[in-house]
Symmetry: C2
Subunit: 248 residues, 2 copies
């Protein structure tokens, strides 16, 4: 048996958004590794060992996966959304780079998934239908000044924006500052979408003009989509459609 | 029977990357509408009418879908990748906005898919593992000067970048200018990934340092991923891993 590591994206929550490719990798795994709630999404079966770990131990988890693969196990590291977007894939390659040379020769595969911003955008209409950017608002691994710089440049470029990890209990003030910056830099009433836990039973979606956005509209299960200056709202009975036209 | 329009993402090509949600929508459709090669991906069956159209008629196609839904048909508009990323979803809402008021009350749903940049990133490692942007290099619907402005600001923000529609026969010179601009603005040897037709039998992947990139490495089936200044390459037997670390 040759060991391998597959980093698989489980999508935003609904089983109907898990690709057949990921489903097949899970069916072939001997070990599943990941953050507790993601591992919980994988059904138990004989022959499958589940290793659930807490948040913020991404590098430990990556090393554990590589060690098991080195022993010949077929390991699937599960991420929510897409593993390459603010998730486990980068951590895995950081561990490979810093680890023993033999890890470079392991078979490593990344399987894409539906990332939060695309699930949220689909629910709202097509707010990311023109050029856009994705920014992680967590300052755990980068200085806050860099986040502010990127937000300002994104406004100047007139990108629509997807803001991941907008707000946690440990750092509630960052999103306050981000909203203040965006209000000042945009100086208009472009729509902002607060999309929480899309495709799960806890899903909620809220479209709010930028001047009326309040920090408590987001938590760590929310992805925030900020329109560009061109983004439009179609009011209707029920939730409005939000879209960014293809032309600019 | 109540008509509806579903805009569905077929992913980059492989059937294993089509979500069960999209599969179910296709199974329930009376009509499938889209660009010829995407409609060809949907199997024929009794009761299903397929409407294939040429490229660059997105608005006509959107209106056709809305008209059929108004007559009570269950229409699926198929896009490759994700319909909200440089694909049919925006065109559909442009048509809704400009069309008869009754179109606002049709049931319209967008179903996300695996977009080209995420499929390509997964194949290469995790090049979009930190903040990034997505820019459509086609100047059919926006001035070239805006594309250049966005490329410059993206470099200044140190985003990794996904460049869609880099080069067509009708406008070969744009990508030449984009590469010149990137070489000058980045002034380093960051890795660039040319990912063509990922997940199809024609797939190819090439990792090239920015100074060595040549325009003919891309065509319209290629998505080009440009690393940030932090993006790293792990050389190994076989294709290298490319990843952008989580910290900056």
């Amino acid at each position: 048996m040759t060991g391998r590591v597959v980093v698989a994206g489980l999508g935003p929550g609904a089983e109907a958004l898990v690709t057949p490719e990921v489903r097949a990798a899970l069916a072939a795994a001997t070990d599943v590794i990941g953050y507790i709630p993601y591992v919980a999404r994988v059904a138990d079966r004989p022959g499958l060992v589940k290793h659930a770990s807490d948040n913020r131990v991404e590098l430990d988890r990556a090393r554990h996966a590589l060690e098991l693969a080195g022993q010949g196990r077929r390991v699937v590291v599960v991420s929510s959304g897409d593993p390459g977007v603010f998730a486990m894939a980068s951590a895995l390659f950081e561990a490979v780079e810093a680890g023993p040379p033999a890890w470079c020769d392991l078979r490593i595969e990344v399987l894409p998934g539906i990332t939060a911003m695309l699930a949220a955008a689909a629910r709202a209409g097509a707010p990311l239908g023109h050029d856009f950017c994705a920014i992680n608002l967590s300052d755990n691994l980068k200085p806050w000044a860099l986040i502010e710089k990127r937000l300002r440049l994104a406004v100047e470029a007139d990108f629509a924006m997807a803001l991941y990890n907008p707000r946690s209990k440990a750092r509630p003030e960052g999103f306050v500052r981000a909203l203040d910056l965006l209000r000042e830099a945009c100086n208009d009433a472009r729509p902002v979408i607060f999309a929480r836990a899309v495709s799960t039973p806890e899903e909620s979606l809220r479209v709010v003009p930028l001047p009326e956005c309040r920090p408590e509209m987001a938590d760590m299960r929310t992805v925030v989509l900020v329109g560009s200056s061109r983004t439009r709202v179609i009011a209707r009975t029920g939730a409005p459609y939000v879209f960014t036209p293809r032309s600019a």
